[in-house]
């Protein structure tokens, strides 16, 4: 019926219908044939850009990681070097227990050894920003001839780990004696939290 009407219609009407049909067909064909592939291509191109960016980032990060590995190695070497002059808690404990022996080996008689426990605990001090280095002090009172005291000082300071002599007080109590009494306050530093170390 529709076709019959169309067949009988004027040339202008038929042309109009044809034009509309062509336009609709063109749009439909574009939507069904070209548009999906165009969208796929756009997607692929975007994917390529993203992949390129990722590849670029990959390169940059690879370089960064290499640099950081080097930096980390450098820091580790530096840290190892520094830690060599500091005590571990075990070493500190051992050192303080050996202090009497060291003094006696140097030829000094130990009057007293007072380990100071005034330093606040690390956790109490700064729980957020944990202190890594903890000072430990002790006051050693010895008596011995001057050379022996020098020897003791030399032995203390000749250790691989650093021992700081904070104060020294030497006095001759008996004017006839050649053995002065010497109070030495020493401080050592321990590196805490060994297991968290890098």
């Amino acid at each position: 019926m529709l076709l019959d009407n169309l067949a009988k219609s004027s040339r202008l009407s038929r042309s109009a219908v044809s034009t509309v049909l062509i336009v609709i067909s063109a749009i439909a064909m574009y939507n069904w044939i070209v548009a999906p592939r165009a969208a796929f291509l756009r997607g692929a191109q975007r994917h390529k850009i993203v992949a390129g960016n990722i590849a670029h980032k990959h390169e940059v990060i690879s370089k960064k990681v290499i640099d950081k590995r080097k930096e980390l190695q450098k820091l580790q070497e530096q840290s190892t070097k520094l830690r060599e002059i500091l005590f571990t808690p075990e070493q500190a404990k051992e050192f303080f227990s050996d202090l009497q022996t060291i003094s006696e080996e140097a030829g000094c008689a130990v009057y007293s050894l007072n380990i100071l426990t005034t330093a606040p605990s690390r956790k109490q001090q700064q729980p957020q920003n944990a202190s890594y280095i903890v000072p430990r002090s002790a006051t050693l009172t010895v008596a011995g001839v001057y050379e022996k005291i020098i020897r003791l000082m030399k032995r203390l300071q000749a250790r691989a780990q650093k021992i700081w002599v904070d104060s020294i007080k030497m006095e001759i109590l008996d004017h006839d004696s050649a053995q002065p009494k010497c109070d030495i306050t020493i401080t050592i530093y321990t590196v805490e939290d060994e297991e968290a170390d890098v």
Binding site: L3, A7, R37, H58, S62, L72, Q157, V198
Partner: protein, 500 residues
């Protein structure tokens, strides 16, 4: 071959399909190709199309087998009933001749109750009252439409449909009718059990009659006698009824069937009493036309040739009747329009397919590039690199903090070489000076107290201390004579070494 001057005449009878491909040019009409085949059994029965699909296939097969291609075609009207009539126009011409003729045709018994397809043309001048005659051709419209459908589905572009008699007349006209002013021409055509008699007087159609051959008249000799009677009846009619009729007759009998006996020409000549009687069969009828025959082509059907000549619009008689209704022309135009539209859509589709293909290729190329990038660049997972970087950052920060802390501690502390200082002190102490007390204050500040034999000895001691590389600016703070000895107090600083 496919120009507008190449046309196809298609003669479909009850028994055969014949085609004649003609080409018109400056030198006249040329027969390019002729072909024929029998009508498939059951396709046409009693002048009606029984199986249009079968008939259409047969036409198509003949066309393709003979490699005949033509844009325009004319087809014979083989179905019955067909009304061919000459109508005398009244002295006062009706205002609507078409309506007048339609009313006249309606009275025909054979066409009553049917939708009629008709066409007509004037013979003589209608302007002169009383002399105008109209040749009317009418048939069942359904028959014509069916022929049109069959031919269209066979791939023919049918432009005209007319009965075989008119095609014969057109083909014979230059040789048999043109220029015959002193004699009457009687065309007798037998085709598909229909006898058609047409008289041409002074080149114009003057009489036409169609008659169905009685089924009882099957015996050839009997048919020959009956035919002679019919011819004689027409001649007698003219002798009696038409006063100014010529007594000379030229009779042409075309028997397009094998029903007449051998020697029918002689028998007819004797019975009709006309010396100028020619008898034509499909095999020899072509000699009476002016169509030049291509050497390679077969002997064509005269009807097919005459139909083709209609489309070439030759100079001979061209009774302007065409039973093809104007509606198919609209349909054709519509089809053409649809074809153009479809072609435009196809033309649009093609580049879209190409564009789509190109886009797919580009996308594949891009995907290959992506795959290559992934193969070459993503061997290690980027995310693991990020994680490693983050971990390294964390470790660096942690280590840096620790190192900083250690450095801070070391910087804050100064190492004093106590044993070296004590050695120096012993070396710097004169024999007449005795140290009784040594204590450090504020780390590097040292205070010495003791006894000396004299002031000079004390000053010498201070001087000696100042010479030591580990002592910085030794100064005498206090001296006091106590009987024969001098007590002293000396302060100095130790030279410190920075730990960092």
């Amino acid at each position: 071959m496919l120009d507008n001057k190449t046309v196809l005449g298609v003669d479909i009878s009850q028994s055969a399909i014949n085609m004649a491909l003609l080409r018109g040019g400056a030198d006249g009409v040329e027969l390019v190709k002729a072909a024929g085949c029998p009508v498939p059994d059951g396709a046409i029965k009693d002048g009606k199309i029984e199986d249009s699909v079968m008939l259409s296939k047969a036409i198509k097969a003949l066309k393709s087998r003979s490699k005949i291609r033509a844009r325009r075609a004319a087809v014979s009207l083989f179905s019955q009933p067909v009304l061919m009539q000459l109508i005398d126009m009244p002295k006062t011409l009706p205002s609507n001749i078409g309506r007048f003729i339609q009313n006249e045709v309606k009275h025909c018994v054979a066409l009553s109750g049917k939708e009629i397809a008709l066409d007509f043309c004037s013979i003589g001048s209608l302007a002169q009252p009383g002399t105008g005659r109209v040749f009317v051709l009418a048939t069942d419209a359904e028959n014509v439409a069916e022929i049109g459908r069959v031919c269209n589905s066979a791939g023919l572009n049918v432009e005209a449909v007319e009965p075989p008699m008119l095609a014969y007349t057109r083909a014979f006209y230059p040789q048999k009718i043109a220029g015959r002013f002193d004699s009457n021409v009687l065309m007798v055509i037998i085709q598909d059990n229909i006898l058609t008699l047409a008289v041409f007087r002074k080149q114009n159609l003057d009489f036409i009659r169609s008659k169905e051959i009685d089924e009882k008249t099957t015996e050839p000799r009997e048919l020959c006698c009956w035919l002679a009677d019919q011819i004689n009846a027409v001649i007698k009619f003219y002798d009696v009824e038409i006063s100014d009729s010529s007594s000379q007759w030229e009779v042409t009998v075309v028997a397009d069937c094998a029903q007449l006996p051998e020697g029918a020409e002689v028998t007819l000549k004797v019975k009709v009493g006309c010396s100028d009687l020619s008898f034509r069969t499909p095999q020899n009828a072509f000699q009476d036309t002016f169509i030049s025959q291509n050497t390679g082509s077969d002997c064509p059907s005269m009807v097919a040739a005459g139909l083709g000549m209609k489309l070439l619009d030759t100079d001979g008689i061209n009774l302007g009747v065409n039973l093809l209704p104007s509606e198919p022309a609209e349909v054709k135009s519509f089809k053409k329009h649809v074809l153009v539209t479809a072609n435009i859509i196809a033309a649009l589709l093609l580049p879209m397919i190409f564009i789509s293909g190109a886009l797919s290729m580009m996308a594949n190329k891009v995907n290959e590039n992506i795959a290559r990038i992934k193969r070459t660049k993503f061997v290690d997972d980027t995310r693991s690199l990020f994680r490693e970087e983050a971990l390294a950052d964390k470790q660096i920060v942690s280590l840096s903090q620790r190192i900083e802390q250690m450095n801070k501690v070391l910087e804050s502390r100064h190492s004093l070489p106590w044993h070296e200082f004590l050695n120096d002190l012993r070396a710097a102490t004169p024999n007449n000076v005795r140290i009784l007390e040594l204590f450090s204050k504020a780390n590097s500040k040292i205070s010495l107290k003791g006894l000396a034999s004299s002031y000079e000895a004390v000053h010498l001691f201070v001087k000696m201390l100042n010479n030591s590389e580990h002592i910085d600016s030794a100064s005498l703070i206090e001296t006091e004579r106590k009987r024969d000895l001098v007590s002293y107090e000396i302060n100095f600083s130790l030279v410190m070494k920075n730990e960092s």
